[in-house]
C-alpha cells in the first residue's frame, strides 16, 4: 500500500496547492515533495508489496502497480529530483506552476510503477500535459512553439504505441484465449513473423522519441532551452528516463527475439547518437545547450547498455539512469542559478566568475565532473558496466563509447572553464545563498555515495532486479 500512497500524495498535493494562496503554494508543494521522499524511503525498507486490482474487466485491464528493482530505482530518482526541483523553484512562480509540477510527479510515479500496459499508456499520456502547460506558461517567448514540438512529436510516438498495445493484447488473446495487458503475462509471447517488426517499431518509436534518441530528438533543443531551469532538470533528469525505462520494462520482455535480431542496427543507431550528441555539445554557444546535447549523448550511452543485451549492460543502463538523472538534474539546476545571476546563458558573455562566486563554481564543477564520467562519481560506474556489457558483444562499439568519454571531458570542461575561469570580466555575480547550499549539498552527497559505492544500488537491486535480467541470464 505504500506504493499507492506514493502515487496518491503528489495528486493530493496538486489538488491542495490549487486551494492555497499563491504565496504559500511553494511551501505546500515543497512539503509534498519531502513527504514523497520520506514515503520512498519507507518503500525502500518495507516489503514493497504491489497492488493488482481488477479495473476494466471487459478489456482485461487491471490496475496493477509494482516496485521491483528497476521500478524502485526509478521511483527513488523521481522522488529525489522532484524534491530538489520543488525546493529550488522560484517562490513567486504561483500555485498553477506547482500544480503542474506535482501532477507531473504523479504521472512519473505512475509510469514507473505500472505493470499493466494500458495503465502504463495512460500515465504516459498524462505526462505530456503538465510539460505542455509548463512550457507554454513558463517558457517565455518561444515557449509555445517548444510546447508544440513536444506535443506533436510525442503524440505521434504514443499513437503508434497505443496501436501497438492494442495489437499485442489482441494477438496474445488469439493465441491464449484470454485478453490481458499485464506485462508479465504478455512477456515471451512469440509474435507472428509478419507483424513482429511492426509491433516492435510501434513501441520503439514511442520510447526513442521520449528519451530522445538521436535523430528523433527534434523536440529536445527548444524544449530544454525554453523551459525554466527546474523544468529542464525534470525533463532531462526524470522524463528522459521514461524512454529507456520503456525499453527495459516493455521491450525486453515482449520483444527479446526481435531485439536480438536487430541488435547490430540498434547498437549502431545508439552509438551514432552518442557520437552526434557529443559533437553537437562541443559546438554550442549556450551553456544550457551544452548540457542538453551532452544529455542527448548520454541517452545514447544508456541505449547502448540496453541493446548490448547483457546483464552488465542492462544493469549499467539502469544504474546510469539514476546516476545521470541526479547529476544532470543537479547540473541544470546549477545552470539555472547561474543564469538568474548572470542574466545570460551565452558562454561568450561570461568569464572568470569563479572569483565572485566560488561556491557556485564548485558545485558547477562537481556536476560537470559527474557528467563527464569521472571515476569515483556514479556516471563512471554506469559507463563501466555498459562498456563491460558491450565488450561481450562488440569491442569496436565499446571503443567508440569510450572515445566519447574523451569528447565529454572536452565539451564539459570547455563550458565550465569559459564561464568560471580565465581573466575576471567586469561582471560579478552573488555567490550561492545558504538556503541553496542546503539542498545542493545533500544532492551532491547522495551522488558521491553512489559513485563510491555503486553497490548500494546494484547490490539490493540486482538479484531481484527485474524480469529483463532474468530473461537475459537464462539466455546466457
Amino acid at each position: 500500500m505504500v506504493l499507492v500512497w506514493l502515487l496518491a500524495v503528489p495528486l493530493l498535493g496538486a489538488a491542495a496547492v490549487l486551494a492555497v494562496p499563491n504565496r504559500s503554494a511553494k511551501a505546500w508543494a515543497a512539503t509534498g515533495g519531502l513527504v514523497e521522499l520520506a514515503l520512498f524511503v519507507l518503500l525502500w525498507v518495507s516489503a514493497r508489496h504491489g497492488v493488482n486490482w481488477p479495473w476494466i474487466a471487459a478489456w482485461g485491464i487491471r490496475f496493477q502497480l509494482g516496485a521491483d528493482g528497476l521500478s524502485l530505482l526509478m521511483l527513488g530518482l523521481t522522488a529525489v529530483v522532484f524534491a530538489a526541483v520543488l525546493i529550488s523553484s522560484d517562490a513567486g512562480a504561483g500555485r498553477v506552476y506547482y500544480f503542474w509540477l506535482l501532477l507531473l510527479e504523479f504521472a512519473s510515479i505512475g509510469l514507473f510503477s505500472a505493470l499493466d500496459l494500458f495503465l502504463f499508456y495512460i500515465f504516459w499520456e498524462v505526462l505530456l500535459i503538465p510539460v505542455f502547460f509548463l512550457l507554454t506558461g513558463w517558457g517565455g517567448e518561444g515557449g509555445r512553439s517548444a510546447a508544440m514540438r513536444w506535443l506533436v512529436m510525442n503524440l505521434v510516438g504514443s499513437l503508434f504505441m497505443l496501436v501497438g498495445i492494442i495489437a499485442v493484447g489482441v494477438l496474445h488473446s488469439q493465441l491464449t484465449g484470454h485478453l490481458t495487458f499485464g506485462i508479465a503475462q504478455l512477456a515471451g509471447t512469440a509474435w507472428a513473423p509478419a507483424v513482429a517488426p511492426l509491433l516492435f517499431l510501434a513501441f520503439f518509436l514511442a520510447f526513442a522519441i521520449k528519451a530522445p534518441l538521436w535523430p528523433l530528438h527534434g523536440w529536445m533543443p527548444e524544449a530544454y532551452g525554453r523551459a525554466p531551469a527546474p523544468v529542464t532538470a525534470l525533463l532531462s533528469g526524470v522524463l528522459s528516463k521514461a524512454g529507456i525505462y520503456g525499453f527495459l520494462r516493455v521491450m525486453v520482455p515482449l520483444f527479446l527475439p526481435e531485439l536480438r535480431a536487430y541488435q547490430t542496427p540498434l547498437l549502431i543507431l545508439a552509438a551514432a547518437g552518442l557520437v552526434a550528441g557529443g559533437l553537437l555539445a562541443l559546438r554550442q554557444q549556450d551553456m544550457k545547450m551544452v548540457a542538453a546535447y551532452g544529455s542527448l549523448s548520454h541517452m545514447g550511452m544508456m541505449a547502448l547498455g540496453v541493446f548490448s543485451l547483457t546483464r552488465a549492460g542492462v544493469l549499467g543502463a539502469t544504474f546510469y539512469m539514476v546516476a545521470h538523472g541526479l547529476m544532470v538534474g543537479g547540473l541544470f539546476l546549477v545552470l539555472g542559478l547561474l543564469e538568474n545571476r548572470a542574466g545570460t546563458r551565452a558562454i561568450a558573455a561570461m568569464k572568470g566568475l569563479n572569483r565572485s562566486a566560488p561556491r557556485l563554481a564548485a558545485y558547477f564543477l562537481f556536476f560537470v565532473l559527474g557528467s563527464l564520467g569521472l571515476p569515483g562519481l556514479p556516471g563512471f560506474a554506469g559507463e563501466y558496466m555498459i562498456i563491460q556489457g558491450l565488450v561481450a558483444h562488440d569491442v569496436v562499439i565499446a571503443v567508440i563509447a569510450g572515445a566519447v568519454l574523451v569528447l565529454a571531458a572536452w565539451y564539459m570542461l570547455r563550458a565550465f572553464q569559459a564561464t568560471m575561469q580565465g581573466p575576471v570580466g567586469n561582471v560579478a555575480i552573488p555567490d550561492l545563498l545558504a538556503r541553496q547550499v542546503a539542498w545542493l549539498l545533500p544532492l551532491a552527497a547522495v551522488v558521491t555515495v553512489l559513485g563510491v559505492w555503486p553497490s548500494t544500488l546494484t547490490l539490493p537491486a540486482a538479484p531481484s532486479l527485474y524480469h529483463a535480467i532474468h530473461l537475459l541470464a537464462a539466455k546466457g
Partner: protein
C-alpha cells in the same frame, strides 16, 4: 588491512578539512596541517612496509577488501587494497617526497591568496596517488588513476585567472582521459574473460596462458595507452610541457616525481601480461627509447627553465619505459626512485630560482646567480650531475642498469639510442645550469633583488640533494626487496639488476662528459645567448616540439569541430520536418474552428480531463465489481 586504510585516508581527511574549513583557519595553518597529515601517512607507510618485510618471501602481500564496489552482473569487484614490495616502493616515495614538497610549499606558496585551496588540492593528490598504488585490482587502480588526473587538473589550473593555465589544465585532462578509456576497455576485456580484475587472480590465469594471442596483445595495448597518456609517452606527451603552468612544487611532485611515473608502475605491475603480448612489449621499449631521444632534442633550445626540466622528465620517463620494454623491471623501478630524487630536487631548486627572481622563468633574464644563490646552485649541480649520469651520483647507477639490460637482452638499437640520449642529457642540463648560475647577469634589476630562499625551502632541497647524490646505493637493496614480486609469476626472468659490458659504461660516461664540455664551450667560453641557434630551421623545429601540437589540432581537434557543425546542419533539417507537421496540424485545427476553439492548450486540457474521468470511473467501478 588495518594500516593500509589510514595511509590512504589521512591525506583525504586533510584535503576535506582544508577544503571545508580552510577559510576559517589562521594563515599558516592549512600548510602545516597538510604537511603533518602527509607525514603521518609517511610514518604509517613505513610501519606497513616493515610489517610487510616480516612476512615470508613467498607470501609478501597484505590485502583486504572493504566490501563490494559493484556487483550484480558477475563476481563482485571489491574495494580492495593490496600492499606488496612493488607498491611499497612507490608508497615510500609518494609520502616521503610528498612530505618534503609539502614543507617546501609552505615557503613557496606563502602569501598566495589561494594558499588553503592549494594545500587542499595537494593533499587530495597524495590521497589519489596512494589509492592508485595500493589498489588491489585494476578498477580501483583506475579510480585512483583518474583522480590523480583530476588533482593534476586542479593544480595545473591553480592560477585559474591565467588563460594559459586554464587551457593547459584542460589539455592535460582531456589527453589523460584518452588513457583512462584505454585502461577502462582493457580491464573490461580482462573481466570478460577471467571474471576478475584483481591482480593475483589475473596473474594466476596468465601464468598458464600461451603468449601471442591477439586478445593479450589488444588488452596489453589498451592498458599501455593508459600508461602512455599518464606518463606522457609519444604521441600523448604534449600536455606535460604545458602542465608547467602549475606552481613549481606541483611540477616537482606531480609532473616529475610521482604521477607521471604511474604508467611505469602499471606496466611493471602487469609484467605477467606483457609476457603474453610480445609485440606490445617490444613496442613499449621502442616508443620509450624514441620518447627519450625525441624529448631530449626538444630540450636543447627551450628558453624556459621549467620547460627544459619538463622535457628532461619526458626523456627520463622514456628511459624507464625502455627498461620495461626490455624486461628490466627492477632497473625501471630503480630509475623511478633515483629520478624522483634528482628531478624533485631540480624542480625545487628551480623553484627557488624562480622565487628569487619574483616569478621569472626565462633563461635569457638569468645568469650569474651562483653568487646570489649559492645553496641553490650547489644543490642544482648535484641534481644535474645525477641526471646526466656522472658516477657516483644516483642517476648513473640506475641509467647504467637500464642500458646494461638493454644491451644484455640484445636490444642493441635501443641501447644505442639510450647511450646517445645520455650525452644529449648532459648537454642540455649543463646548458641550463650554466645559463642560470654562471656567466654575467642578463637582467641587472632581477639580479640585484635576487635572494636565497628561506630555510623552510632550502632544507627539503638539501635533503633531496643528499638523496640524489647517494641514492644509487639503494640499488642492491631494491633488487633484493623486489625479487619476490618478480619471482612469483613467469615473465620477469631478466628483472634483476645486471651490469652491462664495461666499455658501454665508459662510452656513456664519455658522451656525458662531451655533452657537458660542449655546453661549457658554447655557453660559457663563447658566451652565446640562450636563444642561439633557435632561429635556424632545425632549431625552430625542435623548439616548437616538432610541430606535434599543430598535428594534433589537424587530426583530432578540427575534424571534431567540422563534424559537430555538420551535425548541426543536419539537425536543422530534422527540425524543419517537425515544424512542417506541427504547422499542418495547426492549419487543420484552424479549419475546425467553428466547432472548436482552435487552441491546442484547450485540447490538451480536455484530453487530460477525459483521461482522469475514465480513470476515476473505472477505478471506482472496478473496485465495486471486484
Amino acid at each position: 588491512m588495518l594500516g593500509l586504510i589510514e595511509i590512504v585516508v589521512l591525506p583525504l581527511m586533510g584535503s576535506v578539512t582544508i577544503m571545508a574549513f580552510g577559510g576559517l583557519m589562521p594563515k599558516r595553518l592549512p600548510g602545516i596541517w597538510a604537511s603533518l597529515v602527509v607525514f603521518a601517512s609517511f610514518l604509517a607507510s613505513i610501519a606497513a612496509d616493515v610489517r610487510l618485510g616480516h612476512l615470508s618471501a613467498a607470501h609478501r602481500m597484505i590485502t583486504g577488501t572493504l566490501g563490494a564496489w559493484v556487483t550484480g552482473f558477475g563476481p563482485a569487484i571489491g574495494w580492495r587494497l593490496t600492499l606488496d614490495p612493488l607498491s611499497a616502493v612507490w608508497l615510500l616515495v609518494i609520502t616521503g617526497i610528498g612530505f618534503l614538497i609539502h614543507v617546501y610549499s609552505n615557503g613557496y606558496m606563502h602569501g598566495d591568496s589561494g594558499e588553503a585551496r592549494y594545500f587542499s588540492y595537494l593533499n587530495f593528490f597524495i590521497f589519489a596517488m596512494l589509492l592508485l598504488v595500493l589498489a588491489g585490482n585494476l578498477l580501483i587502480l583506475l579510480i585512483g588513476w583518474a583522480l590523480v588526473g583530476l588533482a593534476s587538473y586542479f593544480l595545473i589550473g591553480f592560477w585559474y585567472e591565467r588563460t594559459s593555465a586554464v587551457l593547459a589544465a584542460k589539455k592535460a585532462f582531456v589527453m589523460n582521459t584518452v588513457g583512462d578509456v584505454g585502461v577502462l576497455v582493457g580491464l573490461a576485456l580482462l573481466y570478460l574473460r577471467y571474471h576478475t580484475v584483481a591482480y593475483p587472480g589475473l596473474f594466476h590465469a596468465f601464468a598458464s596462458a600461451v603468449p601471442g594471442q591477439p586478445f593479450f596483445e589488444w588488452t596489453a595495448f589498451l592498458l599501455y595507452i593508459g600508461a602512455m597518456a599518464k606518463s606522457a609517452q609519444f604521441p600523448l606527451h604534449m600536455w606535460l610541457a604545458d602542465a608547467m603552468e602549475g606552481p613549481t612544487p606541483v611540477s616537482a611532485l606531480i609532473h616529475a616525481a610521482t604521477m607521471v611515473t604511474a604508467g611505469v608502475y602499471l606496466m611493471t605491475r602487469l609484467f605477467p601480461l606483457l609476457r603474453l603480448a610480445p609485440v606490445t612489449h617490444e613496442m613499449i621499449g621502442v616508443i620509450g627509447a624514441f620518447t627519450a631521444i625525441f624529448a631530449a632534442s626538444i630540450a636543447f633550445f627551450q628558453q624556459d627553465i621549467k620547460r627544459v626540466l619538463a622535457y628532461s622528465t619526458l626523456s627520463q620517463l622514456g628511459y624507464m619505459f625502455l627498461g620495461v620494454g626490455v624486461g628490466a623491471y627492477t632497473a625501471a623501478v630503480f630509475h623511478f626512485v633515483t629520478h624522483a630524487f634528482f628531478k624533485a630536487l631540480l624542480f625545487l631548486a628551480a623553484g627557488s630560482v624562480i622565487h628569487a627572481l619574483a616569478g621569472e622563468q626565462d633563461l635569457s633574464r638569468m645568469g650569474g646567480l651562483a653568487k646570489k644563490l649559492p645553496v641553490t646552485m650547489w644543490t642544482f649541480l648535484a641534481g644535474t650531475l645525477a641526471i646526466a649520469g656522472f658516477p657516483p651520483f644516483s642517476g648513473y647507477f640506475s641509467k647504467e642498469a637500464l642500458l646494461g639490460a638493454a644491451f644484455n637482452s640484445g636490444h642493441y638499437g635501443l641501447w644505442l639510442i639510450g647511450v646517445i640520449t645520455a650525452g644529449m642529457t648532459a648537454f642540455y642540463m649543463f646548458r641550463l645550469f650554466f645559463l642560470t648560475f654562471f656567466g654575467s647577469p642578463r637582467d641587472q634589476a632581477l639580479y640585484q633583488h635576487a635572494h636565497e630562499a628561506p630555510l623552510v625551502m632550502t632544507i627539503p632541497v638539501a635533503i633531496l640533494a643528499v638523496l640524489a647524490v647517494a641514492g644509487g646505493a639503494l640499488g642492491g637493496g631494491l633488487d633484493r626487496w623486489l625479487a619476490p614480486v618478480f619471482a612469483q609469476y613467469p615473465g620477469a626472468a631478466h628483472a634483476a639488476l645486471a651490469a652491462g659490458p664495461i666499455w658501454s659504461t665508459v662510452l656513456t660516461v664519455g658522451l656525458a662528459v662531451v655533452g657537458m664540455g660542449a655546453a661549457y664551450w658554447i655557453y660559457l667560453r663563447r658566451g652565446l645567448a640562450p636563444t642561439a641557434g633557435t632561429e635556424t630551421a632545425p632549431g625552430r623545429w625542435m623548439r616548437q616540439a616538432w610541430g606535434l601540437d599543430a598535428a594534433w589540432t589537424l587530426v583530432a581537434v578540427e575534424p571534431s569541430k567540422i563534424l559537430g557543425d555538420a551535425f548541426r546542419k543536419m539537425e536543422r533539417g530534422v527540425l524543419f520536418a517537425v515544424d512542417g507537421v506541427a504547422t499542418g496540424i495547426w492549419a487543420w485545427a484552424e479549419d475546425l474552428r467553428p466547432l472548436q476553439t482552435g487552441q491546442v492548450r484547450r485540447y490538451a486540457l480536455s484530453i487530460m480531463v477525459g483521461l482522469f474521468a475514465i480513470l476515476a470511473y473505472y477505478l471506482v467501478r472496478g473496485r465495486v465489481i471486484g
